[in-house]
Symmetry: C2
Subunit: 163 residues, 2 copies
DNA sequence: TTAAGATAGTTACATATGAAACTATTTGCA
DNA sequence: TGCAAATAGTTTCATATGTAACTATCTTAA
């Protein structure tokens, strides 16, 4: 039985020249995806149930903590979320009294958003938590590596001219 | 009207000392998440509709291209997907005749999976496509940066002892 | 001024995803 | 042996998410 298992694990059944299979664990987009999901899940685990707060809701709150009186569209831009996701997150945040929504004077389509006192309280509890996760992550790197990472991310984030 | 908009954009309504809001766009987990999603979506766009193939399905196929005769559980391990996701992806792949599923001799719980000829055909079309996206991405970096990125990812991928 | 088009935001629908319960089979050990 | 626990995989259900259609309001230009 174990023979079968071993046979199944032998790396290359097909010559690379024949089919050129992808080595997923060396494939950059795949690695980024796994890494990012793992990290986000770890952080979310810490506040998700404790504050009944989803990742999207937290992102909206984080943006409103930095920029008061944004409209939903502006929140969407700053969080890189689409407007429907923002609308839903806001619906919950307003319902739970964490965000105060007014209507813009002079443009009744727009909302004017800000954290309530309760919202600030949660923010002030979650922000250090998130920050400490980031610190833990960066602790795996030395100073030089951190500098390169900054630089590399800045470059990778530039929109693809080729696409 | 534009006055309001400008006012809303002024960066720090609250003193950093008071609430220490997160700068999302400098926050590593957030940056990784956006970057990774952007990249994955760009790649997926190229094969998603053309081959009626989801990201999870493609990952399963990529693994089966490298390692023949895996069980579903082994596929799950190698793709970092959970077994339910794999089960669903496999259901579709088998139904569309892209993957052949047998039962393991000697353990009737296990499946024994491999790409069909049709599956290989799709793999051979999609793999270079994915690869070229990666190449385009890496083209944004110079050789030195690529070396550092490798090293940094290796380190970040190590499981957190602190967690 | 006013009708066509643009914009802000919500709702509806279809699909994706995750957790838990379930079935079938195998393993381990009294 | 033979029964409790473990394992492989599927199904179910509740929730999340993306796309498109919709409402309300605003802008623009004839």
């Amino acid at each position: 039985m174990t023979d079968h298992a071993l046979a199944a694990h032998s790396p290359l059944e097909h010559s690379p020249l024949e089919h050129a299979p992808l080595e997923l664990e060396r494939f950059l987009p795949y690695r980024l995806s796994i890494l990012s999901n793992t990290i986000s899940q770890e952080i979310a685990r810490d506040y998700q149930q404790r504050y009944d707060l989803s990742v999207t809701e937290w992102r909206v709150m984080a943006v409103l903590a930095r920029f008061e009186l944004l409209s939903a569209r502006e929140v969407a831009q700053r969080t890189a979320m689409d407007k429907v996701a923002v609308s839903r997150a806001l619906a919950r945040l307003v319902a739970s009294g964490r965000v105060i929504r007014r209507t813009h004077t002079g443009d009744k389509r727009r909302s004017v958003l800000r954290l309530s006192a309760r919202g600030w309280k949660i923010h002030d509890a979650v922000a250090p938590l998130a920050r400490s996760h980031e610190t833990g992550l960066l602790a795996k790197l030395d100073g030089e590596e951190r500098t390169w990472l900054e630089r590399i991310l800045d470059k990778l984030e530039t929109l693809d001219a080729t696409a």
